[in-house]
Symmetry: C2
Subunit: 217 residues, 2 copies
Amino acid sequence: MANPGGTERTKLNRISHKASHDVSDLYSILDDNLVAHVGLVQDGRPLVIPMAYGRVDDIIYLHGSSGSRLMRLLAEQPEVCVSITELRALKVARSTFNSGMHYRSVVIFGKASLVSDADKDKALSAVSNAMIPGRVQEVRANTKKELAATIIISLPLDECSVKISVNEIDDDEQDLNKGTWAGTVPFISTIGEPIPADEEAAGLEVPESVKRLSKRS
Amino acid sequence: MANPGGTERTKLNRISHKASHDVSDLYSILDDNLVAHVGLVQDGRPLVIPMAYGRVDDIIYLHGSSGSRLMRLLAEQPEVCVSITELRALKVARSTFNSGMHYRSVVIFGKASLVSDADKDKALSAVSNAMIPGRVQEVRANTKKELAATIIISLPLDECSVKISVNEIDDDEQDLNKGTWAGTVPFISTIGEPIPADEEAAGLEVPESVKRLSKRS
């Protein structure tokens, strides 16, 4: 069961960020972002791979581009650390030291499993839905060959931590009232106009799933 | 010396992404992004920490929020894997299997070092300049106490790989001309209006460094 900050290594002891124990914060960060950085140990050394992911209840499914290598690695060493970071704003303080970034982040620890053939279709839909909700229903079903070529790993949200920046500038007292500006500069992410892939697509209406993406952003 | 893709573990063997051996691509991805996911090994298990970073020539300087823990860890096990990923567009194909994301990414392997006291000021400026170019010149100098409390690690770009998506939809022949749309949906990142931190800042002009950020985006 998802229990953010519930174990020794997920307990936060810094004060400049808010540790959230709220499952809705965990879900919101996971559902609003698209890429996870997955850490593994390979021959005693760290390896970090960016992967697309999707969440179903208290499990995330991860889909990468380096399938077979990953499969070999996980067979030897299933322990992973998954980090998802959403930058929200630049924190421009009255000193370099107090400046930085506001962000929301999740770190998940656990043992990853390869998704079985029986569950691959569901897992692939979860990853697809996380990117483009509803797209699965607009396209043909996956073929057996495609599913066989797909490697997806699953990770339960049992051990995780959630950090949300407190949106404040924490300047030192002595830096105030000396004529130096301070504030935040928000990062804004939007979705651009869809670009058809070819002549056939150019002659078709943009599908509902893609139209909804633009409205959401 | 930076030599993208020059070693066995940085050589790419997938065709859906372009492996770049061009140092200017490496620099461009590093200079256009703000967060690095740093993988370490702790007690034989992986740990991934998001960190701000800045580049000076063929070195990146990384600055995290969990200083002392990181210092202990690196003393035991200096090997790191640093992953920087920039999402550029959704790739909406005519099947779930062929859909995905276009991105640019860098992975760097190497041994991280703690930046010495003598070099900390320069390293902190590099990280600050990566976030807000020119801000260092607008604020007071760092104090000795601040520098002592700062932990920055450095990593040479000696062993790294660079991936840049080929911006194409690679649908199967048999999925074409069946009335299914395909295309790309660009992600657009912009900078919002600066928000003053307090009454003092609200009465001051927005500094040049912050104004330039909005122009750049």
